[in-house]
Symmetry: C2
Subunit: 398 residues, 2 copies
């Protein structure tokens, strides 16, 4: 059974993580993704550990499975012409250049719409093109700064800091997938192609304000923005005698079970902790008392006591632990790829389980230009034209 | 022009943030979302500031616009019967109960498929139901602990900590939207309904490993997991003379512009910083030198110098700053809702800009049971049946 996007052809003009990871998710769901790179290749090809082949780094391998690779120099007329040929039969084009770059290359929406009116054209970049920040460049860290994320950390840590994951690139990538698939659905029903814009800044303020708008939900505001519980100093995994544990006696029933089984029944009498509302009003004290308790036994002892109760209780995994985790291994989360040039690789399964149209891993992450000839032929170019393109540097083969 | 999901009916059986925010995104894109709540209502109705009506808190208002509210007690036969009637004409049902709860209520996929074989049935909860953690409860913090996120913070801060945003709830919500829309597309092409499972744990390990799998991409590993740059101690917005700034002279051209305009040309001679590869190899030093430089002028002075260059440079906004931001205001990001009971409200626009099927805000977040009668009538129940349900407590009206 093929994935839900089986039969959809996506042209990818992106680099680093946002675009490549978005396109990989579409590819995992069955789309035929043609990754188009300049002759020097996606810059993430050199980010992270490399085993065999330069340009086949860890970060590249993790964001580019299930795709085919075509090299095109879009600044050369033959390169641009080949792109237009491909667009004729494509369903979707995704880029993450600033709009000004696409105008200059003469491949903005209007240019490509005239070749294929049913195309879904999706651009993702720092800031909405019609606003005053519309021509600014952006990286994940920039968007963490401008969207309020770094300053959330100031409330916790005393200084603004970026989160240790590229949350803006990846959340925007997921938004790209959402927009593209919704536009495909719309086209299926109406026949209409369209242009989609997914700006990182707007995407991340929408994301961060889902819970943090708080008092500013009201106009005029009735209090500060910020879901205060999340910035509590004591909100963290608790140290045990020999490690850490995540235990969250949240609801009243959880709290009662917690106090009884942890031998802290005196806490049940405390007015500060009586009801969920009391505990939320005294959240730092609640977390602190829970933390004090956890120091009394080892992680395994606490897992034995609480692991089978309804109190959410779970181990605190490091990145290394994840590859050995019994649940992930039992559900087949870690998949193995025998890559023709890079050898045996580990890759996470696509996380959505579809009963009738399962996602799958059909192709290894390609070497730069691995499918240039094959794809150009599919687009209708003959051998002489392809040879001339290779000769003139408009394409490149692996 | 209606949104891309116009005409799609979604039944929401969810609470708190994950499910409600996912369903709100579907509603923003045009779906008719019927939020079904137990008589006591979604627990997030009491989380955050309240202005006029109990049960209409900030967090509820932010995650539930564009929906209609129906109260059903699914433990009562009349409540369950009414749900089955609604399922007959629904396209999608989304729940975030553990699968065991849905079995007990006799509304698991097999039960509802027999009523409507074209239904898309999506469950989202802590852990994939077929794995050893499959019956565990989970909250956002639990998943931050088990998926490696909290331990990433240990590498930066010396102790595991949760991020100050409910990243697992919200990322899983986006994955739910992705899965549901992909399944709608698949159904449009094939006529097939299906069951979808979106487990938070698997979703977050897939998310976090997009960049952090690193040396563990290879089997056997060729180094540690973890994209080390992200855990650098000096990776943060830089203090200026009077505030903070986010400046990221990343590429070689950026670095050259940075050193020249910041009057630090001596850094251009430093072997540690010569090329992008050198700077990445000495990332902590690079960030530290950039940071030292930024102390020399005010934020506005630096914005005047770098704001128009290609070096990504941007202000560091607090949550409060975001409602005054000139870009967000110019693009119409902040929208105003005149809520019939709660007064004037602020809400973020949906971030994806569709040229032909724009998202919009058509309905205010409903009071509990506001549409109970209207929806039950649409499902074919007559006045006597509805009155009996109200009488017996199987539904409730606002």
């Amino acid at each position: 059974m093929p994935g839900p996007l089986d039969g959809i052809k996506v042209i990818e003009l992106t680099a680093v993580v946002l675009g490549p990871w978005a396109c990989q998710m579409l590819a995992d769901m069955g789309a035929d993704v043609i990754k188009i790179e300049a002759p020097y290749g996606d810059s993430n090809r050199s980010l992270g550990a490399v085993r065999n082949t330069p340009g086949m780094s860890a970060l590249y391998l993790t964001c580019n499975r299930n795709k085919r690779s075509l090299v095109l120099d879009l600044k050369k007329p033959e390169g641009r012409d080949a792109l237009l040929k491909l667009v004729e039969s494509a369903d979707v084009l995704i880029h993450n250049n600033r709009p000004q770059v696409m105008d200059k290359l003469k491949i903005n929406y209007e240019d490509l719409k005239s070749v294929n009116p049913k195309l879904i054209y999706c651009g993702s970049y720092g800031y909405g093109k019609d606003g005053p920040y519309g021509d600014k460049g952006a990286l994940d860290d920039s968007i963490q700064a401008v969207s309020g994320i770094a300053m959330l950390n100031k409330l916790v840590l005393g200084e603004p800091r970026y989160l240790p994951t590229i949350v803006c690139d990846k959340t925007t990538a997921m938004t790209v997938v959402q927009g593209v698939v919704a536009a495909l659905f719309h086209r299926e029903r109406t026949g209409q192609g369209q242009e989609i814009e997914v700006p990182m800044y707007e995407t991340m303020v929408h994301y961060i304000m889902a819970e943090h708008l708080w008092g500013y939900t009201f106009d005029p505001p009735i209090g500060e923005p910020g879901y205060t519980r999340l910035m509590s100093h004591h909100r963290k995994p608790y140290p045990t005698k020999d490690g850490y544990i995540a235990i969250l006696p949240y609801l009243d029933a959880h709290w009662e079970t917690f106090c009884k089984l942890a031998d802290r029944e005196e806490l049940l009498e405390e007015p500060r902790f009586k009801t969920l509302a009391d505990r939320v009003a005294n959240i730092d004290d609640t977390y602190q008392e829970t933390g004090k308790t956890m120091l009394m036994k080892t992680t395994q002892e606490w897992m034995d006591i609480f692991g089978k109760t309804s109190v959410p209780t779970i181990v605190v995994n490091s990145l290394e632990d994840l590859v050995h985790d019994e649940h992930l291994n039992a559900v087949g989360f870690w998949q193995t790829i025998d890559h023709p040039t890079e050898g045996k690789l580990r890759t996470p399964a696509f996380p959505i389980k579809f009963s009738e149209s399962p996602a799958d891993i059909r192709r290894h992450a390609p070497v730069l230009g691995e499918h240039s000839v094959e794809i150009l032929k599919e687009a209708g170019l003959d051998d002489a034209m392809i040879d001339a393109m290779i000769e003139g540097g408009a394409t490149k083969v692996a």
